[in-house]
Symmetry: none
Subunit: 186 residues, 4 copies
């Protein structure tokens, strides 16, 4: 009774693992993996730092959970669009909005891209994430541009290039979209 009430009311005890991952994510967004300290993560959640090891045996485990948690935040909702052009516009608009509203998410993504170079587990997570994104883009771009695969790569590159710059993301992605859409007309 008390337990179920606790779950319903507070929900705080929901999942310590999730809390820890969220806290770690926040720390990485602020200080990078370079500045990720297990003691701080535990403190953020309000538990002893040794208790963290009860949920994540090693720091690496937590890092991998952060990678999964980060990539999971993409493509939660897939908006349906009547035509390829508006689908692309919607896609880019969503990304621009995410870049503006959740800058930390993209900071962590860059951190993960960098870490992937020395961390096979993270590399696998990022490749899975990126290939999903690529497929989605190719799907959208098919029928809109002559070479969907190449254009998808261009879109990915442009987004990656403005990930850390909310101020220019809108302009750049809009321009890119119009370029691609206009291209189909030519």
């Amino acid at each position: 009774m008390a337990a179920s009430l606790n779950q319903v009311v507070g929900g705080e005890g929901d999942d310590r693992r999730a809390q820890l991952v969220a806290a770690a994510f926040r720390r990485v967004a602020e200080a990078g993996f370079e500045g990720l300290r297990l003691r701080q993560v535990a403190e953020d959640v309000g538990i002893d730092h040794s208790t963290l090891h009860h949920h994540f045996a090693t720091k690496q485990d937590l890092v991998e959970a952060v990678a999964a948690h980060t990539t999971r935040q993409f493509w939660g909702t897939s908006p349906q669009a009547p035509d390829p052009a508006s689908a692309l516009r919607a896609h880019l608009a969503t990304l621009r909005q995410m870049i503006v509203e959740q800058p930390g998410l993209f900071v962590v993504t860059v951190e993960l891209d960098l870490r992937a170079r020395r961390d096979p587990a993270v590399a696998a997570a990022m490749e899975r994430h990126e290939s999903g994104w690529r497929e989605r883009l190719v799907e959208i771009l098919t029928g809109l541009v002559p070479d969907p695969a190449a254009s998808a790569e261009l879109v990915i590159a442009a987004v990656k290039g403005v990930r850390l710059l909310p101020d220019v993301a809108g302009r750049v992605l809009h321009q890119l979209g119009e370029h691609l859409i206009g291209d189909g007309r030519g």
Copy 2:
């Protein structure tokens, strides 16, 4: 004369600094700032780790020197081109070649972009570097595209987005270039 004299007489000290910066640069390229260890840098150069502090009082000083050394490697040679289109093509070709041939340079650049978020000195260096690049791009794009400033931003974004991917850099940058050049005609 003065330069060569400088190298002969007291230049060894400066040489050491350059050696240390180069070694640190290499370490960052391999292991990130997260994996940068002063002891290793000193050992790479063949001096005691205490001696390193005679050349760089603090680790931060070395990091800033790495930032300067990194940005300095761009735009060493500015190829002259008869017309804007070939100037842009040359610019992108140069970048593609650098990405392929000096991947470490771009890894460090991403590391610096990330570190710039928490390190004002690095931030200043990167902004200086990037505004120089932007100006150069605007110069090239003027007369070629309707909105040189916006297109420069797009180019920068695309390059940043493929910095870590030598395999797709060529395709993406080529496609972008043709887009921009073709756009001017329409």
Copy 3:
């Protein structure tokens, strides 16, 4: 009857204790008290490490149980011999056989001897064990050697000295036995 009933009804708990002691004994034989981990012991038995504390409130309790379990393995069977000489030979042969066949038992004994220096409970257990052994030896040696007490001490020392060396145990104990038996004759 009572015994079998005990096993059926409430004996499982006692079984668990025995299992835990046996597992702890094995761990000490392999890794020493230095490497004794309650979690591993519990895991070896197939229970949660918290549950172990229901059977042994503290690690010290388990250690003392291991000491008791270890000393209990000696002198289970007392072979009857027609004369003192063959009694001594049988005693030494039994020990040699145990050293060869159950090396772990003697490793733990050495561990216990060492721990006894800082652990009064273990010290008491070992003293009890050793005085029983000594009495038995004096009994055997009486009528065989001039100073049974001193010779018993010599036998104990020699056995302790080859406890960890199954390869030389046979030779050494045999030689010692013949020395003692021959001595009586002279």
Copy 4:
């Protein structure tokens, strides 16, 4: 000047490594390898615990130094004797005296014997030590007993068996000596 004076007067700065090994040795004698703590060792010497790592990169290095330091304390002086019998008596008397006067030395030896089972470096040190001892014993026993090799093994066993018992060491070793010497007469 000050430095040489310091060396002459206090001698304390003589060798930090030696001081640390001595302190570690003392700790092992008291608390076993199980209770060896680098922080305490450093504190005993009066330096920060991190400084200890400047002299011994890892705990294992210190342990190996302790093993070397321990075995080095044996056979420092080799007393010359006119005949084998008195040579054996002198050898055993020396050992008995060491056991009585330096009990810690033998406690550490037992600890090392035990650790040798899981530590190849320590095992090598102990084997070297023991084979040296064995050779010396064989040399002494040759001409005194029929089977010097076997008797050497018996002596080693007996000594090992009384290492931890200063009270009985004298009696046991004396009896053993007379046994061996008397044996030659028969």
